[in-house]
Symmetry: C2
Subunit: 156 residues, 2 copies
């Protein structure tokens, strides 16, 4: 299983996450953007993921829920600014537990020798928001998500 790397430089407003998947990029792109596959990898393993909606097109809206064993639900939503298959996805992201705090994620897919380098750059409205996200356990959750995504991709 590949490593997920993070770059979180002091004073900046972004988090850069990189993961190399052992698959062509059209497969990686499909796994990430297919609403039928999203519940199988999005979020930490301890939660069930429900796709409330995922209009995968420029200007489309998405909303996913994480549900825990007690039935508590945590909502996330955003809009797709751009979808350029299989190269790039630009979207907004908001955790409904912190309304009004929005980030912009740019994901790029680069094929290198049959593998796919996936880079997701998230920029936040402030350094404080960025630091808050970095301190929230995001890296562990995102690493687990990338591991789950790699598993889904291996099965495609």
């Amino acid at each position: 299983m590949g490593e997920t790397e993070f770059v979180i430089e002091p004073g900046r407003q972004d988090i850069v996450m990189t993961h190399v998947f052992d698959a062509p990029r059209d497969v990686v792109f499909k796994a990430i953007t297919d609403p039928n596959l999203i519940p199988r990898w999005w979020g930490p393993r301890q939660y069930e993921t429900i796709v409330d909606h995922a209009e995968v097109r420029p200007g489309g809206r998405w909303r996913f829920l994480n549900r825990d064993a007690e039935g508590n639900e945590y909502g996330f939503h955003g809009v797709y600014h751009d979808i350029v298959a299989p190269e790039q996805v630009v979207q907004t992201f908001e955790f409904e537990g912190m309304p009004g705090h929005v980030s912009l994620e740019t994901a790029t897919f680069e094929e290198v020798g049959g593998k796919t380098k996936y880079v997701a750059v998230s920029v936040f409205q402030s350094v404080e928001d960025r630091d808050g996200m970095a301190q929230s356990g995001m890296q562990e959750g995102a690493s687990e998500t990338m591991d789950r995504l790699a598993e889904v991709i291996r099965g495609l």
Copy 2:
């Protein structure tokens, strides 16, 4: 006419623009979000502004054109992540002359003693993108836009 202030700190990824309008915030909010009013203030005076589309709702898309005296057109587009009248607008922004470079703008409207403090925070995908925007003459263009907007607001 009020001053438009900018905060552009070295090494950060944002530009913060503030302008105080001498009007209640519902009037300022309407001037900024009404597609029929946008051509009267959006962009520098030297250009005609055409609203290609402006779906002013969460998940709606917008696209404006600036046309110069020779008929050259410059396109801009994005999506509205959130519209909370008359408090906040969160949207993406892309100049079509630099495709793939996207920023996230959060505009807040705060009423203070009958006036409205308008603050627009734009965050960019990189410090380089932010610096490029700051060096592009953006401040002059944005100040002129704010002056035009103040004129429109006075007439409402």
